[in-house]
Amino acid sequence: MSKRRVVVTGLGTINPLGNNVSDTWNNLISGVSGIDYISSFETDELPVKFAGEVKNFDANEYLGKQHARKLDRSGHLSIHATEEALKDAGLNTEERLGTEVGIVFGTGIGGIGATEQAVRTYDERGASRINPLAITQLMPNSSTGQVAIKFGIEGPSLTITTACAASANAIGEAKNMIQNGIVDMVIAGGTESGTTAMTIGAFAQIRALSTNNENPKEACRPFDKNRDGFVMGEGSTVLVMESEESAKKRGANIYGYISGYGASTDAHHITAPAEGGKGAVEAIKKALADAEISNEEVDYVNAHGTSTLANDKNETAALKTVFGDKAYQLNISSTKSMTGHLLGGGGAFESLVSLLSLKNNIIPPTINLNNPDEDCDLNYTPNVAIEKDLSTAMSNSFGFGGHNGVLVFKKD
């Protein structure tokens, strides 16, 4: 018996490049950087003074102060992206979605801003002054729960916390839920809002971040010889996923198919990738097998491409291992060059990019790629978007902890 096919019928996003899908896409294909100096807090004490922040978004204005103040920023972004995705899918956001709709969200570090604030309050004013909402804001499943409440999503729910692979895993698990007939529709995606002082300080301590404070917009340079680390980003991206029958029955617009999902674990080191991207190789092979396609059929790879020395080199090696000579014909790009690293929200964002690339036959570029690196010698679509007929795309996501999640998308 053939597997049920899973389609995407709605997209929503809020991220450093735009507060909706249309602005985001236009900036992606124009090679715009969403990175800038941090505006939401003082960075005097930090070695890194820039990030990809969501701009021009006032949660009080969007949700009303009484609702907004109950949520961490990650919750605000999640609701905003979900509302856009539901409307895009032609669903009524005023009615409860009910028991036949599931929700799977990914996040790396949940409501870390709320955690930091609560610790500060405890230190300054004692236990009796800790915000009673702190727990419900900081728990990693906060966004999942708050989105479910807002839109009445009563089917099965999961929150996946596999660091930077989290929302790729979320979309993969949502695909399995639909394929296995558990529900016909899942609201799937991921959110991160970790552009906070402690988090940036801590990532800087492990030398994971670029320190190019002189030129933030050129700091994230995946696959470039002069890359010096990733750039923190924040945002939320949500996909309305459903069975093909469900989508066709209600006459929904179909962006494309989620055809393959592969996951693996390095079981090697808590931050460094396994030599040669061994875990990544395994996840890519599994995703291609799940999609029942050959290596030859992949047109576009949205790379994990973080701009760290280790990731970009090992991801390149993994692609060569899987694709052999064909690796040199792949069109690859890292859109993190423009958004920064959305951590647990990255896989969902890059799924959106993959689907829009297929739909529009345009590959967004890897910006800031000017200096070739002998360890990174594939075609990463440097600096300028290209137009090309596309039928199949793949998106890689790898997380601290050694988690790997790979998704394959098809136009039809």
Binding site: N60, K65, H67, K70, P132, L133
Partner: protein, 79 residues
């Protein structure tokens, strides 16, 4: 402090700190049903009262408080 003053201060806390519509905050308003203050919100309200009026409120003193007026009366009796 006059009871009116206590009410005005309480109203200020509800509007400024909790983001509640000013027009909803009357002496008769029910905290849960009219102002949508849930069990988590009550803890916040108590913290705000304690800071504003420099008093301490025990949980059992709240057992009979379900309207703004009852809260104002409790505060008035403790100041």
């Amino acid at each position: 402090m006059e009871i009116n003053e206590v009410f005005e201060k309480v109203k200020g806390l509800f509007v400024e700190d909790l983001g509640i519509d000013e027009s909803k905050v009357t002496m008769e308003a029910k905290l849960e049903e009219d102002l949508e203050i849930d069990s988590l919100g009550i803890v916040e309200v108590v913290m705000a009262f304690e800071d504003e009026f420099e008093i301490e409120i025990d949980d059992d003193e709240l057992a009979d408080v379900s309207t703004v007026g009852q809260a104002v009366n409790l505060l008035h009796s403790k100041i």
